[in-house]
């Protein structure tokens, strides 16, 4: 099964194309409205309103009700054909007895054999990590401690990868992140960390949790320079930036692993990168991770499943098959601000992973969209009505047209 999965990895994943409606290629608000009105309009002295203008907004509105770019990113990707997991069963009808039997055999295999094996491995892996890193703190020789710590981290991550039966194909390893830099990646699941750490040592950034997670975090930081924040410190952007800068300035320290989306997205697209990590003056190494949904759904839908539930689902899937591409390092160029740099990196990651590049914010999972975007639409329409009276600011980096001009869709 491993060999078969590895071979399939070579081609670029076919993006999900089972849409509900056929969308026209995106055109601007002005273009559409002019089409709507036909060639009748010529003089621009009077503001022009046509009652038919409403059709444009009406149709865009209903199209977005039928199929929008954002809400579908926060739930698992639908499959073209069933992979014998009940959890991926959305629209598939009962086909045959044979399929049911295969499914039942699959269940027995997954829950009876694979799951117990994997759970044992996972417990061993985490247990070893905690115990050994704690033991290491007793070593007087700091250099030796750091060296061993790296080895131990790698070993434990490799055990965890086996625990998930993660079949990972690393591409372009010559571009692996170096010390004293930042590594950014698209975020689908907390397992991303294990997948990347399997191949190299990173410093993690994150909030200190309580409970089991917190214990693991505290153990890890004793021997390795991870950056954990107290809950209260997380809001303080300057503090965060300072700690990150300090870490990066020290060229002996491992690269920092950051997920600029800030939340888990379902691996069909890359959403807005928060600019914070791109303001720090150092080289950025982008990494693209793409999971093959046929073997198991890696996306963590945090509103539906807690962490333990999620891990159990992971360990009772067939396997986690993914590809990791290390992209060449990027630096902020002259005259480029953090947002533009972030978008450039995002576009590179999306292109490599075959993902849709969106400028919508992943935070829309929980928060409402900002009014500024609606105001932008209203402004555009006003311009059509009264003409281009003032050439306002072009190239505003928050500019968002309803049809998403930055959308570099791949085969959608």
């Amino acid at each position: 099964m491993e060999m078969g999965a590895k071979e399939k990895n070579q081609q670029l994943y076919k993006p999900y194309s089972n849409g509900i409606i056929a969308k026209k290629p995106p055109s601007s608000l002005q273009q559409e409205l002019l089409e709507l009105r036909g060639s009748a309009s010529c003089s621009r002295t009077e503001p022009e309103f046509e009652m038919a203008d409403i059709f444009y907004f009406c149709r865009r509105g209903v199209e977005s009700i039928l199929d929008d770019e954002v809400t579908k990113r926060f739930s698992s990707q639908e499959l073209d054909s069933w992979n014998l997991l009940t959890r991926s069963n959305y629209n598939f009808h009962h086909i045959s007895l044979r399929l049911t039997v295969m499914w039942a055999v699959g269940v027995l295999l997954r829950y009876g054999v694979l799951l117990p094996l994997r759970v044992t491995l996972a417990v061993t892996g985490i247990g070893l990590l905690v115990v050994l890193t704690t033991l290491l703190t007793f070593l007087p020789n700091r250099e030796l401690m750091l060296y061993l710590s790296e080895k131990i981290h790698l070993m434990c991550y490799r055990i965890c990868v086996r625990a998930l039966t993660a079949i990972i194909t690393y591409h372009n390893r010559e571009n692996k992140p170096k010390n004293g830099c930042i590594c950014v990646s698209n975020h689908t699941t907390p397992i991303d960390i294990i997948i990347l750490a399997n191949d190299g040592c990173y410093s993690m950034v994150g909030q200190l949790h309580g409970g089991l997670m917190g214990m693991v975090q505290r153990a890890m930081v004793k021997s390795s320079p991870h950056i954990w924040f107290e809950r209260s410190e997380v809001k303080d952007r300057h503090l965060v930036a300072k700690r990150l800068s300090d870490h990066v300035a020290d060229k002996t320290k491992q690269p920092i692993l950051i997920f600029p989306e800030g939340t888990c997205i379902n691996n069909t697209s890359v959403m807005m990168f928060k600019k914070g990590s791109f303001e720090i003056a150092c080289t950025v190494y982008p990494v693209a991770i793409k999971y093959d949904p046929r073997f198991g759904d890696a996306f963590w839908n945090s509103s539906k499943f807690g962490m333990v539930n999620y891990l159990l689902r992971m360990m009772s899937s067939w396997a986690i098959v993914c590809s990791v591409w290390y992209l060449p390092p990027m630096n902020r160029e002259e005259g480029e601000d953090a947002v533009q740099f972030a978008n450039r990196v995002k576009a590179a990651i999306a292109a490599q992973g075959g993902l849709v590049d969106l400028i919508w914010d992943g935070g829309l999972k929980r928060a409402k969209v900002k009014d500024a975007f609606k105001e932008e639409q209203q402004k555009l329409y006003s311009k059509v009505l009264v003409g281009e009276q003032d050439e306002g600011d072009q190239g505003d980096s928050t500019h968002l047209e309803i049809e998403n001009p930055d959308d570099s869709t791949k085969g959608q």
């Binding site: 849409g19 509900i20 409606i21 056929a22 709507l36 036909g38 503001p47 309103f49 009652m51 038919a52 203008d53 409403i54 059709f55 444009y56 907004f57 009406c58 149709r59 865009r60 509105g61 209903v62 199209e63 977005s64 009700i65 039928l66 199929d67 929008d68 770019e69 954002v70 809400t71 579908k72 739930s75 069963n89 959305y90 629209n91 598939f92 009808h93 009962h94 049911t100 499914w103 919508w360 829309l364 409402k368 969209v369 975007f373 609606k374 105001e375 932008e376 639409q377 209203q378 402004k379 329409y381 006003s382 311009k383 009505l385 009264v386 968002l400 309803i402």
Partner: protein, 195 residues
Amino acid sequence: MGSRASTLLREEEIEEIKKETGFSHSQITRLYSRFTSLDKGENGTLSREDFQRIPELAINPLGDRIINAFFPEGEDQVNFRGFMRTLAHFRPIEDNEKNKNAAVSEPLNSRTNKLLFAFRLYDLDRDDKISRDELLQVLRMMVGVNISDEQLGSIADRTIQEADTNGDNSISFNEFIKVLEKVDVEQKMSIRFLH
């Protein structure tokens, strides 16, 4: 072991919706999937909040009016039937050639019904007339703060002047149809559904 979607949607219902709206079987199940994915409360109906959760709809200047079109008078929830009935307005007209069902008096996606849908977006109080005030309010929704009251008022006045034929200073549905007779409503108010 049936599919999750159709265990909640019975075959008879699908047939009824098919007759009423003209959607095909597979389109209906596909749209039911979409309906359930929007239904965060999982109670078989959509509320206004469920629609507003769609960012592309929330930034549409007429988003609220469109959402309103789904809800019957005075109600706060729309079930799947109502959802489909409203969406049926956007089926392309040529699809009717295949669906020669004499029982349906006028298909929901006829030119007249599409125009009626658009008319109702303007007609805020549902009294079958677009008054100057209603037109102003809708205009204000579309332009935001970027046009002054006076300019907007004169736009509204001119529009009513051009459309109003019986002199009651408001636009009736027939006057509305007349104004838009040259517009390719079929194309502009149609969405191509796949399958």
